[in-house]
Assembly symmetry: C2
Homo-oligomer: 181 residues x 2
């Protein structure tokens, strides 16, 4: 199987680092070309399933512009330009919760949109989390920090209460990993 | 917790049904307004973890423009305008594999991007799948249909071989659901 080739690209919308849209001319393996393939550039991001030394899952109850009502959420945020995904994950855990974790496990990296890009989600499990400072906040959304038991997380995941795709993914993959221990 | 309010919206990029970008003026609960909040409109889609009566998982090995190399993939596709998510899931299963399934379980619906929209992913588990016709294909990507064992799916998921976010999500949630049986 051969990949598609990008023959040319041009920017058609530029909102800076949070959203740029390009139009690509793409060549398929059979020689056909697609002249106007939209390609979305948004920041790569991390999400972290963070578990304390006592086994509590650090989550938020929060609002989100694309979600009706409130949602449960893991730690997460954009990767800054030049920042390594793990560094971003550790920074966001500290900023959002005031916790540091001792054991970090990558749970994979995933294209957000297989056709149009829209960034890469880097997912992590962080264990042995302990509080070292106050959260520094700074996000625009209102959010409340919760410490959930594993069974509470499982029930919430299975009833769709993690309402953003990457949030459900990181929690499901973290639970799989913890089962293997 | 109060939701953000959309005060106004205007279209700033229009590629038809596959991509439209709007700019919203958003009011936060504390009264602040954000004047130029980009909002991405892409089609809602479905993914299906399909399991045959014999317990094999129907997956594809395929290329995808946003993914390096090949990826394992579940059944999936856009929801057509006016189509119910379950109808889309059943249509895509039949078109892509030639299979029909007897037992359908919703695994939730998830905003693809919590800040900017980018559609909603509707995920399903389909059991009792049996072949009733030839796949009708029609996708632009090359793909090869595979019947994987549960342990093969678990190993592939845990090593990141489902390389698109929703694909990892639907497989992880399906495996959770099957464990509860």
């Amino acid at each position: 199987m051969q990949p598609w080739k990008t023959l040319s690209r041009r920017t058609v919308l530029n909102y800076g680092r949070f959203l740029t849209v390009e139009e690509h001319t793409v060549e398929l393996p059979d020689g056909r070309t697609i002249p106007r393939w939209p390609w979305i550039i948004t920041p790569d991001y991390i999400n972290v399933a963070a578990v304390t030394a006592a086994g509590a899952f650090l989550c938020f109850r929060q609002t989100k512009y694309a979600v009706k009502g409130t949602s449960l959420a893991p730690v997460g945020g954009h990767i800054e330009p030049g920042e390594a995904p793990l560094d971003a994950a550790q920074r966001e855990l500290l900023e959002e919760t005031g916790y540091e974790a001792t054991l970090w496990t990558p749970l994979g990296q995933y294209a957000v949109n297989g056709n149009r890009g829209a960034g890469v989600a880097h997912l992590f499990l962080a264990r042995g989390a302990r509080r070292v400072t106050e959260p520094s906040g700074g996000d625009l959304e209102e959010q409340e920090l919760l410490a959930l038991s594993r069974s509470e997380v499982e029930a919430a995941l299975d009833s769709g209460e993690f309402k953003v795709l990457a949030w459900a993914t990181v929690m499901a993959l973290a639970l799989r990993h913890l089962e293997d221990q």
